[in-house]
Every structure is written in C-alpha cells, then in structure tokens.
Symmetry: C2
Subunit: 214 residues, 2 copies
C-alpha cells in the first residue's frame, strides 16, 4: 500500500509516519518510483504498535525504539515481550525514600505480595515499575492516615487479579506477538479511566443502597 493508505488504515497522519520513518521506528518501504514507496502489512502492524506506545502510552520516542527491539526479539518468550512493552509505560513519581511513610508502605506492600505469591520484579531489573507505583500510592495513604495496611489492600488485589484475567483474554484475541504487545499497552492505558469511572459509578450505587432515603 502507499503512504496515504497506510495513514488511513493506521489512523496515524502521514507527517507522523514520515517522522517515525526518519527516527527508525518504521523500516523504509519498498521504493517504487523516485518519490513513492510501497508498504506492507508488517508496516501497518509496527505502526499500530508504535502508535499504542507513543500516542496512547506517552512513551518517549527513544524508549519506543528500545521496546520495539525487545518486542521483535524472537529469542524472548511472549511474557518477556509484553513486559518490555508495558514496563516502558510512565508510572508516576518514584517512592520518596526520605519519607518514613514509604518504609511503612513498602512493608505492607511486601507483606501483601508475599501472601498472594506475587512477584515484585526480576533479579535482573529490580522492582517493577508497577511495584514502585504501588509503594508511592500506598505511602500517600499512610502519610494522610487513611487505611493502607496489607489487610486493607488484599481484597482490592484479588479483584485486580480478576481484572488481569479479562485484560489478558482481550490481549490473546490478537494474533501476532507484536499485535498482542500493542494491545497490552493500549488496553492497559485506555482501560484505566474506564475502570476508575466504573468504580465511581458503583460507589454511587452502593451509597444509595446503604444510605439512600429509598
């Protein structure tokens, strides 16, 4: 297909595609005339992945290039490839190690993870971004005196495990490792506001049941 069709089918503007080509995020097309090149389905899949990372996931271009290398590395299993893609996602502020609430939070989070048999990260790469994000968020609760113990977090963690089953079911409906990695990034990010608004709606319903005049 030509550039215009690649743009139409991917939803990415031609100027952005040209930028990705210059940055090496897309391999060049097959030249057909001095000014035109032909692109294939592989370009489309790669473009969708790059769009998911950069436009949806807000991952910097340099990071996107590294992630692409990992996701296309056939010596890695699909778990490692998905991890390379989702670990690149921004995850907010790092835990503040000067704050005593961080120590308390880490103890509670570690106790939660041990009880559930969850992994913090890998020996090679250290604690995962999601683990650090969780410690930061739990420290904020702790600092302000709101419930933040492993006991309070456990029911939410069990519900998160069920969310993850549905998340991965959706990811598995995609065919290639690259498409699955694109879906993992896009669905992780795009479902976040969906899940938060569903919770707020559910809270209204639950409040009505408990406190409503009827």
């Amino acid at each position: 297909m030509r550039l215009a069709e690649l743009s139409k089918r991917s939803g990415v503007p031609t100027t952005t595609i040209k930028y990705y080509l210059r940055e090496g995020l897309l391999p060049p097309g097959r030249r057909v005339t001095a000014t035109q090149a032909e692109y294939g389905e592989e370009h489309l899949r790669r473009l969708r992945f790059v769009r998911a990372l950069i436009q949806i996931g807000k991952v910097p271009v340099t990071t996107a290039r590294e992630v692409l290398t990992a996701v296309e590395d056939e010596s890695l299993d699909q778990h490692m490839r998905l991890g390379a893609a989702t670990f690149a996602l921004p995850h907010g502020p790092e835990p503040d190690e000067d704050d005593p609430a961080t120590e308390t939070a880490r103890r509670e989070v570690d106790s939660l993870m041990t009880a559930l048999g969850w992994h913090y990260g890998s020996e090679e790469h250290g604690p995962s971004p999601a683990y650090r994000m969780l410690v930061t968020a739990v420290a904020a609760l702790t600092r302000l005196g709101y419930p933040s113990s492993a006991r309070h977090l456990t029911p939410y963690a069990r519900l998160a495990a069920q969310q993850a089953v549905h998340d991965l079911d959706m990811v598995e409906t995609y065919d290639t490792p690259l498409e699955q990695a694109a879906a993992a990034v896009a669905l992780t990010v795009l479902y976040e506001p969906v899940l938060l608004s569903l919770r707020r709606l559910a809270e209204v319903g639950e409040s009505q049941r408990r406190f409503g005049a009827g």
Copy 2:
C-alpha cells in the same frame, strides 16, 4: 485548641488554615485574647474535610464552599451528602459530542447500565460526572478500534461493584457524616493509583502464567 495545635493535628499548615478562615471554609474560632482564638473538634473535622476536598481532591475553593454547605445540610440523607462531596471531584474531559464514537460509546454504556440496574445520575442534576467520564473513556477505546462493547465492559463493572463494597465499608468506619464525606473523597481519589498499580502488577503475574517460559 490553639491554631498551632489545630495545624499539627490536621496536618494543614497555619497559613493555609488562615486562608480557609478568610474564605469562609472554616468558621472563626472563639476569641480568647486580642490575637488568639480557640478551636474545637468541629473545626478539626471541618478542616480535614476541606483538606480532603481541596488538597487531595483538587476541588476549587468556591466549589469546596458549596460542597460544605450540602454536606452539613441535615435535611439531606447521607447518600445525598456523600454524592455532593464526590460529584465535585474533577472527572476529566467531557464527551466530545461531535465525535460519532461518543454516540456508539453512550449506547454501549447505557446498555451496560440498564443490564446492571445502575443509575446514570438524577433527573434533577442530569447524568453524573462518573457517567460522563465513562462515556469519554469508552469513546476513546471505540475510536481506536479496541474492545469497548457492553459485553466487554460487563465483567469490569461487576468487579467495580465489589470494589465499591470495600470502599463503602471503609467509609462507614468513620463516625460523623462530615468525616464520612471526607473519607469518601479521600479514599476515592487516593485509592485510584493503588488500584491501577495493583492491576498492572496482576497483569504481569497473569502474563507470566500464560506466556512465561516457566
């Protein structure tokens, strides 16, 4: 108690307390000398509520004043009071009515809500902020061609209903209507990054189980 103690017990700096006093978010203390006033437990509770709204919930001062009036209105039931507090929370961009994806998203969301017996909002105030936030988020999925039908959303909505039970259980551990409203605001907001990072951690575990080399 004096201003310094009110500050210490609430975690709000004295300059901020003085600002809230000037803005009418806190009633004046009982004057004891020309330069000193005495504050009671009611000031502390109100201050914690104002802090939850403004510092944690990022609600503007003018809105906080209106919310305070509703939360302290004893003619309202506790469901209405909690609603007044949580409806004031910022909820991101409004649905883009010029985008056909918004219409599709609204149809799917409405079908979900009807199937679950959830309420969109009230006749008096129209669709709730959480409902509008959900339509915006589902429209983004739709526009990018990711799964966004009522069928896809249903399992997440059911898990959100279970989150809400735990949320309201925590809210009910607080004693007065004002403290419960403060907790509803603070827990709604502060648990959001906790829930998102638990989901990301759970996704890593689920991916390991499905795709890991073992």
